[in-house]
């Protein structure tokens, strides 16, 4: 029988872990997003209109919120596992009856919680600068949950794979960061030349941000249903990989 008993304790521990250093894990990314909004919004507000009538600052807010959700969901699971591996305290979890499913639910769940907490923080501080509309709130929630789960799962894989902080930095700075930045956070891909539009459509992060933005404006570069299908399928694939790695104890059980 699958022993998932106790996963809620790991979820609680992982949530408490980031909450205890909330300035670093929630406050700092909120401030970073605010600085992006102030700089880019100030420079581009009077020069750029998106989807015909949406002001640039209002357009930017959902992108920044989603970017923060994704990056922090990734950071939560990846940093927790690599730190625990290097400090040796992962043994406290390894010695328990928790199943690989329990590990998965707890690490991904806590990443979702941190991603949503940061996203909410970014939204609250940026709404003083521009208040986007809420045309389809369900899509907002669906893509926020799916996007944070996707990045939390990727963080779990990265944490298991990396053996030192340097390897984690490679994963974060050469994969996650470029894919997030080049996914349409700061622009609509409709404004790109056809070749780069095509390239953007190969980036699954684009669909997360585009679908999330659809919930605010009711307009997007791709159909939200297509985005949901692609992001959902991508999450199932990375989840299958993560659960498999946990089941075989990849790099955590000798």
């Amino acid at each position: 029988m699958m022993a998932v008993t106790g996963w809620h304790a790991l979820l609680y521990k992982e949530t408490l872990r980031f909450w205890k250093v909330g300035f670093q894990t929630v406050g700092a990314p909120v401030l970073t997003a605010l600085l992006y909004l102030m700089v880019f919004g100030h420079v581009l507000e009077d020069h750029v209109k998106v989807y015909g009538s949406v002001g640039y600052t209002a357009f930017l807010v959902p992108g920044l919120v989603m970017m923060s959700v994704l990056q922090n969901a990734f950071a939560n699971s990846s940093s927790s596992i690599i730190q625990s591996k290097i400090m040796g305290n992962l043994v406290f979890v390894l010695l328990t009856p928790l199943s690989h499913w329990g590990w998965f639910f707890a690490y991904v769940g806590s990443s979702v919680i941190r991603g949503l907490a940061v996203g909410l923080g970014v939204f609250v501080v940026t709404m003083f600068f521009a208040m986007p509309s809420f045309v389809a709130p369900v899509w907002i929630l669906v893509f926020a949950l799916l996007g944070s789960a996707m990045l939390g799962t990727l963080g779990l894989i990265a944490g298991l794979w990396a053996e030192k902080f340097d390897q984690m930095a490679v994963f974060q700075n050469f994969l996650i960061m470029p894919m997030t930045f080049l996914s349409g956070v700061f622009y609509s891909i409709g404004s790109l030349p056809p070749f780069w539009q095509g390239v953007s459509h190969l980036n699954p992060f684009f669909y997360m941000i585009d679908g999330f933005r659809y919930g605010f404006f009711g307009v997007s570069d791709a159909s939200p249903w297509l985005s949901l299908g692609i992001v959902g399928a991508a999450w199932l694939v990375v989840s299958a990989i993560a659960v498999h790695l946990l089941r075989i104890g990849y790099k955590i059980r000798g």
Binding site: T5, Y12, M87, N89, V91, F92, L95, T96, P97, R253
Partner: protein, 315 residues
């Protein structure tokens, strides 16, 4: 049903890329180990560094997988029925690890939660009290001394009341007070029915606590018996004296030398006379000469030296 069962357990670590390039084989850390520990036993697992003790415990704990053989805890296979096997086990790891985000009580509550235990406060309070941690309950783990961190490791291992307790060198580098606190507490749990598996380099602790002992050398069990039988098997008594001078090599190679204290195996009065005569002839001045019974350390040294005992070599 045994509390712990090792059946033909082997563990081979594959060679590194560099070792493979040099044509080297992997390291066989544990080699066909088989023995059982009965419920309620206080069992000692002894051996020098690299003998395979920690590898064996890692496989028991599910931290690594055997290359061959089977391990079970109260009948639960540690691979197939890992969840039930781990519920039976409370393992105090050798390394002094801790989670710097939490205080002592939080660490114990979280560890209880991993085992699905809610409202474990009475037992957590008892553990804190018994291990001298009551006044440190709200202290962050980073603020604790090494000895206090070791106590928390013990408490974390016991938080789910496991019937089998595994202590992997729990007193390495800790002060006398903690040793006494720890052994009193563990002895109490043992009297109440818990099975204890202890690895230690402090052989006087093993001799005092363990009713049965296995000794490992290069991954193999080279002795497995009741402690009293192992002590009876010691071939000799021990001549003990102090000296400031260098002993002749023919004698020194069979001696245990700790600073000024020299201990030599000697079966009977005749051998004692021969040894003292040889020392006198070498011009070595000795003082505080005495005889004592061989202890577990003497047995250990004999066994680790190989088939021949030091006394036999001396002859």
């Amino acid at each position: 049903m045994p509390a712990i069962s090792f059946q033909s357990v082997s563990k081979t670590y594959p060679p590194s890329r560099q070792q493979r390039a040099q044509g080297k084989q992997g390291l066989r850390a544990v080699d066909e180990v088989s023995f059982q520990i009965e419920p309620g036993e206080f069992f000692g697992l002894l051996g020098p560094n690299g003998a395979g003790k920690t590898t064996l415990i890692s496989m028991l704990a599910g931290l690594s997988r055997p290359t061959a053989g089977a391990i079970s805890v109260h009948g639960f296979d540690v691979q197939r029925d890992y969840a039930e096997a781990r519920r039976q086990l409370g393992i105090v790891p050798q390394e002094l690890v801790f989670d710097p985000f939490f205080n002592v009580r939080e660490s114990l509550r979280i560890q209880s939660g991993y085992f699905g235990i809610k409202n474990n406060e009475p037992w957590i309070d008892e553990l804190l009290q018994s291990l001298g941690l009551a006044d440190k309950a709200t202290a962050n783990m980073r603020q604790l001394s090494g000895g206090m961190k070791r106590r928390v490791l013990v408490a974390q291992a016991l938080v789910h009341k496991p019937p089998v307790i595994v202590l992997d060198e729990p007193t390495a580098g800790v002060d006398v007070e903690l040793r006494q606190t720890l052994w009193q507490f563990v002895a109490r749990l043992n009297k109440e029915g818990s099975t204890v598996l202890l690895t230690t380099h402090y052989l006087e602790e093993a001799e005092a606590l363990c009713s049965r002992i296995a000794m490992l050398k290069l991954g193999k069990v080279i002795a497995l018996d009741r402690t009293s039988e192992l002590l009876k098997s010691a071939a000799s008594n021990v001549l003990r004296f102090k000296t400031d001078a260098m002993l002749p090599w023919a004698i020194a190679q069979h001696a245990r030398i700790t600073g000024r204290i020299v201990q030599l195996p000697a079966q009977n009065a005749h051998e004692v006379e021969q040894l003292l005569a040889a020392i006198r002839e070498a011009g070595v001045a000795v003082e505080d000469v005495e005889m004592r019974k061989a202890d577990l350390e003497d047995v250990f040294i004999d066994l680790m030296a190989g088939e021949q005992t030091p006394l036999e070599v001396a002859r």
